[in-house]
Amino acid sequence: MDCNWNDKHGAINPDSAIDFLPREQLRALQSQRLSAMVYLAYENVPLHRKRMDELGVKPSDIKSIDDISKLPFTQKTDLRDTYPYGLFAVPLSEIVRLHASSGTTGKPIVVGYTREDMDVWAGALKRCLLMFGLTRSDIVQVSFGYGLFTGGLGLHGGAEALGCTVIPASGGNSERQLMMLKDFGATAMACTPSYFIHLIDTAQKLGLDMRQFPIKVGVFGAEPWSDQMRKYIEQNAGIEAFDIYGLSEIAGPGVGGECREHNGIHILEDNFYPEIVDPKTGEPLPDGEEGELVLTTLSKRAMPILRYRTHDITSIIAEPCPCGRTVRRIRRIGRRSDDMFIIRGVNVFPSQIEAALMRVAECSPHYRILLERKRDLDSVTVEVELNPDAYTDNIASLEALRKRIQASIMNIVNIKIDVRLVEAGKIERSEGKAKRVVDLRKI
């Protein structure tokens, strides 16, 4: 019989125990790991040594986790500039796995894992899956892409480590995905939230009701998604949706996850230490204040990363979580400092547009934002598909709806943005990360 661990009576699955460590013990562990990791990085990675030397910091200066702010930042460009193996701290003979991110321009960034790193990663994912209430009785369909992307193989390893039955579906072929969900009886699915919405739509077109499927948990990550999207997913698929956070530079998915309180993401800070800094000055900000998330790997051997600038904007929630976990939470990531676009001097995040759209009942979750430059003036157009019933036969009511959508956006971002109603199916459905912003400006 399967035991439902981490229940309200206080049972704790041994694999989750570290999530519940008393704060002082956790800090002692973090301090010890940070110190060792800094030696590893300094002695084996020329870039880290050079950066620390420039700041006049020696490994012996890092005695406790509080000393972390003395360390230099690592930027995404550092990973690109040292392509492919320049940040590895161990010989290639120790590396058992490589992953790479799809670089939008030029070379990708490459990350490596030792055998131990793989175990830590799978362990972290296992703890996330336990947070989502999954057990070894669950059947998990992994529909993140398999391959160089960390999503597919990462979740695969974690779910297998937990003892789940894993369906390595990978991405694509929506009808087949639905067939497997139904026939194989998957109780959980891991994919991007936008792909899951695409599956809900596909099911509806095929006359299938996902609420009748055995699936009860959705594990969603790799792109920001709003609470409105969560509501849409939960209502239309009859599941509980969980946010999983991660990035390849640090490990992949499993850096943190949501517990059933659904109020922030627990960062597994015994392995991945979070800080919040001012995105402009890099100055550390106290818990509770919003800024850029910076992550340091505390137990990675192959590729220790010091204070990685994630560009994800969030804040740390220091208050204890009702679930009892002591590892701190961050607010769900709604925006990235590099996703932001500036229109007529106003900072706009795609998540704000999405929130505005979802306030209008007739809008479907399928939209994209076009940035254009007309006669030296930037313009933003939001293309949105409507829910099937909202395509009325009446131009006047469609125009009124268009104005309502525009007003809803105006309400949030305070600038006038053009809205274009488009045919159902016009917006490309992504099977990976949804591309929401299309920048057509030629500058």
Partner: protein, 130 residues
């Protein structure tokens, strides 16, 4: 003659090729168009189609991934002489009916043109205009 008909309304983008696509789907399905009108806004238009088999038309469009709606409209025979349409509009007004839109059928009955008229209350309109 006054009759309630099913009209197929299709939302299309106001860009080249979209109307053609709709017509090609209907042609392939063997649907014969009796008349059609396009109402347009800046970005999109609504194609309103009277066809020999509206249900088949809607099905074929849906299978091609094109969303359509079936809407009831009233077909009214208009005598081919001055004041004939006026008389119909007078009747509609007297019945408290508002014409949302109207367009003519290419092929009429009894040698008279047919007007396709959309009202908020189709059943009442059919009754009033009988």
């Amino acid at each position: 003659m006054t009759e309630i008909l099913k009209q197929v309304s299709v939302f299309i983008e106001n860009t080249p090729g979209h109307l053609r696509k709709v017509c090609s789907v209907l042609a392939e399905a063997g649907v014969n168009l009796q008349t059609l009108s396009v109402a347009e806004s800046r970005d999109y238009g609504i194609v309103r189609i009277i066809a020999d088999s509206p249900d088949k038309a809607a099905e074929a469009l849906s299978a091609a991934g094109i969303a359509s709606k079936l809407v009831e409209v009233v077909a009214v025979e208009v005598a081919d002489r001055p004041g004939a349409l006026l008389a119909i509009l007078d009747k509609a007004q007297a019945g408290g009916l508002n014409v949302e839109y109207m367009y003519a059928m290419t092929r009429g009955v009894n040698g008279n043109p047919l007007m396709i008229m959309r009202f908020g209350d189709t059943a009442k309109a059919a009754e009033v205009l009988k």
